[in-house]
Amino acid sequence: MSKAFKKAVSAILGLTLCAGMCACNQTQPGTSASGEPDASGAVEASGADADTDAVYGGEAVVGITQEPSSFDPHTAVAAGDKELIFNIYEGLYKFDSTGTLNPCLATDCEISEDSSVYTFTIREGVTFHNGDTLDADDVVYSLKRAAGLLDSQDGTALVTELDCIKDVEKSDDGKVVVTLESGNSELLSYFTTGIIPDGYDNCEAAPVGTGPFMFDSYTIGENVTLVKNPNYWQDGLPYLDTVTFKICADMDSGLLELQNGNIDIFPYLDSIRAEQLDTTQFTIESNGSNMVQIFALNNAVAPLDDARVREAINLAINREDIIEVTMGGAGVELTTAMSPAMGSYYDTSLDGTYSQNIDEAKALLAEAGYPDGFELTVTVPSNYLVHVNTAVELASELSAVGIDLEIEQVDWATWLESVYTNREYESTVICLTSDYAPYDVLQRYASDSSDNFINYSNSEVDELLAEIPTLADTEAKTELYHQILNILVEDNASCYIQDPTTLTAVSVRLTGYSVYPMYVQDMSQVKVVE
């Protein structure tokens, strides 16, 4: 199976949702504040802090809790896959650990006035792992493949967001010209998608990219081994000879292995578990994850179709307590659909909109006709402990206003099918994240969006969302984003809970590891301490 399956899942994901700390199928979250190419911030800069006593060689073992399911840069949708192949493939642009989008395999990008034509200048002197030299043909092939434009494809984009590409051509001066079906000023962050050699179609079994590490082997159920790319185009990188991604049964057995020295880096801990670790042996790195954990309320089912009920729920829950219980306090409270990590796109005036007020919540429920509360089912994916725990805490808190929350655990595949796609649910807990751009954070609230799994509908929001891609001016866009966020709060679209902090334990044996505000394990900077 099946590219077809990946494709389907990727289609579902749309804006991609991200699910919690403990594991898998999360995709890369939001972008840096700038959607514009940042010419000055060349990627080389990030490799520059290679200090003089850098130690080359050695190996590192990263613990992951999910079996990889795809090594194809265009069909991989699971966050666990993407964080791994981040080291193998590179796109025209690439994020750094601050969330900034930098040119990578492209040195420059020109965007036409109406945002419908993107023209990339391709970096020279880059070679693939198989020895081929990167040229415009490779880029054209890769982008066409991602957009489903190859002759052998049926037109369905492998990377859904690139479906809007009409054509990709090599210009006479060796540049790559991407033509869109209509103007879209929000697309640059999707060009991080991996570039593979022209005509290459065996990425599943033998991934070939341009990244700092080369694929070595995958033993199902045990590990994925990457080895150093000796011809990496960034001088001085990477440091390590070998990186092993070791698959752990669950977080707790991974943690035990970490303490036994069998694993060096273990990401996505909660603070309770992180605090158990010996600080002389491990450093805990942390960063915001730029995710939005949502207690999603299906706006189309009674009694949740009543905004007063949704407001009552918003007032009944205690976000601080939830963060305390689920993350050991390592999270940022959210009141709206966007994480503060999105910078200026986030409207700081919305901070603290809700504070727990049981009386008011009860009054609202009474007003809506539910003075004694009601029964509500929350459907949570069983593989995400954080969400299950959140549901447990929610059940306890909501019982104070008479809402009897019944927890129903389902496996991930079922969740995707029945909750996300078919929207046959009452409420759920999940982490959402945008792929690279604020637009993607909010596009799901359009009435006709396939990602609008909460069945939210507001014509004003629809209009605003239609307007944004046509604008080129960032400030104007920001203003509209703020408007949408405010409307969502007014409508009490759902309960937004937290942006959980990513905590990663790193053995003191290693240095140079940084936590990205997205689902990425960048091993290129990691080195062994002398």
Binding site: S2, A4, F5, A8, A11, S253, L256, E257, G261, T421
Partner: protein, 321 residues
């Protein structure tokens, strides 16, 4: 003598027919279970957004459009020729996945079995020689307690003890057999011990009462009256007779061990069949699930067959009716 031989062969033949019949039912149950479960495999593989044409195409590709009996025959034929198709989530043949994981589970199971026999046998002999004495009572109570602790709690305790306190074990460090047999065994010893402990208790209890029962039997009295020494009576008469029943219990233990390895693999983070099955469940990988279940059942069926034959060798009453 020739009569005996003929009856032996007849017994083995009957058991073999039974084996075939059981295999038929087992394969049928496995197949049927995975045919009636909710969800169309093709639909699951393609995801809910797939077009009906795509689903239909995949169904044809997988042979799902064939009538059930045809699919069953194809599946069984595949199962016995080692071709169960590809895993829907790993895109590699199911059989190769199983083959790759087998050394862990099998090694652990065999190791656990050896431990069970090596510990429970001498212990039960010791206990049964003097039932009701202090040593026997301690062994029996310990056996009950060990039996009452859930396997995963036992595993956790062992991990904490062996790697946290004693530092004699590195968690999750599995060494495949091709990288040195000693290391392979060492990496599986503790998990095997965790599986073995409750089974030791179970086998001990069973063996002990079998020996006590045999000790009290009439023929022991006869042998005593013939002037045989107690040691000889025990070794030549009591033990072989107790072994007849212990074959059954050890077979049960072995099939329990196979099942029990599932949880222990998860706690010890070992890449065995159990974790493969959990992965398959997690990903709704039906070809992998059905293949594994079938092969595990196949192992058990063969195990029972071997145990029947062994029992018939040990006990002439079974084979010579």
């Amino acid at each position: 003598m020739s009569l005996n031989t003929r009856q032996n062969l007849k017994y083995a033949g009957l058991k073999f027919i039974e084996l075939i019949a059981t295999l038929f039912v087992v394969s049928f149950l496995t197949f049927a279970a995975f045919s009636i479960i909710p969800g169309d495999t093709a639909q699951i593989m393609l995801g809910p957004n797939a077009s009906p044409e795509q689903v239909a195409r995949l169904r044809t590709e997988l042979g799902l459009d064939q009538p059930l009996p045809v699919r069953y025959i194809t599946w069984v034929a595949g199962a016995f020729t080692g071709n169960l198709g590809d895993s829907s989530s790993f895109k590699v043949p199911v059989i190769s996945l199983i083959a790759q994981r087998l050394p862990v589970t099998l090694g652990m199971s065999i190791l656990a079995l050896i431990m069970v026999i090596a510990v429970s046998y001498p212990l039960s002999v010791f206990s049964a020689r003097r039932p009701g004495r202090i040593g026997d009572t301690i062994c029996s109570i310990l056996g009950h307690v060990l039996f009452a602790i859930p396997p995963f709690v036992l595993s956790l305790l062992l991990i904490v003890l062996a790697s946290g306190v004693l530092h004699i074990f590195t968690m999750g460090k599995y060494a495949p057999p091709e990288k040195g047999f000693g290391n392979y065994i060492a990496s599986l010893a503790l998990p095997a011990f965790a599986i073995a402990l409750p089974k030791i208790a179970m086998t001990f209890k069973f063996m002990r009462s079998a020996i006590i029962e045999q000790n009290a039997s009439e023929y022991v009295k006869t042998e005593r009256s013939h002037g045989l020494s107690e040691a000889r009576i025990f070794l030549r008469h009591v033990l072989p007779n107790s072994n007849v029943s212990s074959i059954t219990i050890i077979t049960l233990v072995l099939s329990d061990i196979l099942g029990g390895s599932l949880i222990v693999e998860q706690v010890f983070n070992l890449p065995g069949l159990g974790r493969l099955l959990l992965t398959a469940i997690d990903r709704r990988d039906f070809p992998l699930m059905s293949g594994m279940i079938f092969y595990l059942a196949l192992i058990t069926v063969i195990l029972y067959f071997v145990s029947d034959i062994l029992a018939s060798i040990a006990d002439p009453r079974i084979r010579l009716k």
